[in-house]
């Protein structure tokens, strides 16, 4: 058989261009807006348009962060928050993925659980915190359970929809080789759904941050959410802003991490997963 080299190399070259330099340029463009806002904020406080007693300028927040790290409570609170997010993310993610696969693959399972899960899905999860406090008492359990539940729903729904939407052709191709159900799951269903699963995970990690901070805010005692709430109550506005900035960075970094892992394990996928965000806390 002849080798149409030009045809083949042309297309790989095109693929390399599509995934190469422009992506970096896109990433750099993303820094322009936040940096401009920071500079604007700094400038407006310097000339007195913004009252720095309520909105301390970025430079003051930066100095505050250094002081808080030195005093030792900022890192501790950040670590606690990260641990809660991670624990909830792992538990909810695994359960959500397994439930998503099961309800995606088995129509009967989907029919049994879908109405119930959909009903719970629409309840703002933070509203369940009092219930969880009653069930689990104080301590880590209610917060982690709440984050797990939130993550569970996102991952479940994204996974289930991805399974349902696998083009029939892929399954037919596998079945034409007389595969077992297990082989179909491993070779088709699980890889085919990975891009959507990672989109779900990305949305889930963002919402996990939100839910963790909120529950810390409400329950109190420790974590970045408590730090923000408590500092504001004590009129340590600067400290509250430090907390807010750390949360923003945390959310950004965790999302980036999930996207990077997703891009790595779905290298075969043409484009990066794009989130169609449906936030429902």
């Amino acid at each position: 058989m002849s080798v149409p080299q030009a045809e083949a190399q042309g297309s790989t070259a095109a693929a390399a261009v599509a995934g190469g330099r422009p992506a970096h340029r896109r990433a750099r463009i993303g820094w322009i807006l936040p940096l401009s806002l920071v500079l604007l904020w700094e400038g407006l406080t310097a000339v007195g348009v913004i009252d720095d007693r309520f909105f301390p300028p970025p430079s003051t927040i930066g100095i505050g962060a250094v002081r808080m790290v030195a005093e030792g409570d900022l890192l501790g609170d950040t670590l606690l928050t990260i641990t809660r997010i991670a624990a909830g993310f792992v538990i909810g993610g695994i359960l959500g993925y397994l439930t998503g696969l099961a309800t995606g693959v088995f129509l009967t399972a989907r029919r049994i659980v879908e109405p119930t899960l959909s009903a719970i899905y629409t309840v703002p999860k933070i509203a369940l915190l009092p219930v969880f406090l009653t069930i689990f008492g104080f301590g880590e359990a209610p917060k982690i359970a709440l984050v797990s539940l939130t993550v569970f729903f996102y991952v479940w729904i994204y996974t289930m929809e991805a399974v349902v939407q696998i083009p029939r052709g892929y399954r037919d191709a596998a079945r034409s080789f007389r595969v077992t159900r297990r082989q179909e799951l491993v070779h088709v269903v699980m890889p085919a759904t990975l891009p959507s699963v990672f989109t779900g995970l990305r949305v889930a990690i963002a919402v996990a941050v939100l839910v963790t901070i909120s529950s810390e805010y409400i329950v109190g005692g420790s974590g970045l959410g408590y730090l923000i709430f408590n500092s504001r109550a004590l009129f340590k506005i600067e400290d509250a802003f430090v907390g807010i900035v750390v949360v923003a960075f945390l959310g950004y970094t965790l999302q980036l991490l999930v996207m990077r892992i997703g891009a790595r394990v779905t290298r075969w996928h043409g484009s990066a997963p794009v989130a169609t965000v449906r936030v429902n806390v």
Binding site: P4, P167, G169
Partner: protein, 265 residues
Amino acid sequence: MSEPEVRIRDLRVVYGDGRSGVDALGPLDLDVMRGQFVSVVGPSGCGKSTLARVLVGLAEPSAGSVVLAANERGSAMPSAIVFQDHAIFPWKTVLQNIAFGLTVSGVDHAQANARARSWVHRMGLTGFEDSYPSALSGGMQQRVGVARALAVEPDVLVMDEPFGSLDALLRDVLIEELLGLHQDLRCTVVFITHSLEEALVLSDRVVVLSARPGRILADRAVPFPRPRTLEVRDDPDFGSLRQDLWHLLRSQVDVGRSADERAAG
């Protein structure tokens, strides 16, 4: 007289169930001899893809029987199929795609890879073993699809409009490649298409199906000697055979349309 490789008797396929079922195909009788290349042409929706699906076990006959001689012989892979779209798995490399049928039927890893590799070379995909399909052109993707089906050494190769989504030039290239493959392998092929030209260039026999539910309207032997090239298109007999089949098909397109209009009205 030897036994046919494919023996179809009184085959009917009905989609849906009971009174609301739609007759998709048949009743239909067809024998395909070992090593024969048979094309099945017919208007859209006549059930020719359904026939392909039945042959690889993706659809069940509602009535009648489909017997593959390979099944009786206890063959590991009596039939395999090449589809038009979504043929190959985007999450597997070229090599993994070609080795897929071997891997899932329990051939050990090293042997599956070795056999897949020989198909990589044969299909002119050398250097792309570890590429993902997204980096391949449409023509190369379809070569992977053909290699994946042939790698399991099926007794019957079923092809369901395999070149339908390729441009005309590329289609000609792949038709010539397929002629060469069939010349070498002498495999039994059931080739579904709506292109009379494809059918006549490739086949030993062309079977024309009626509008839905598909029944056999004509079953013509294609007289051109093998080995063949695309030049058979210039043969005067090619033109007259094509003309003849075209008239048959044409009448069916009108039948299908008026039936649809009746249903709509």
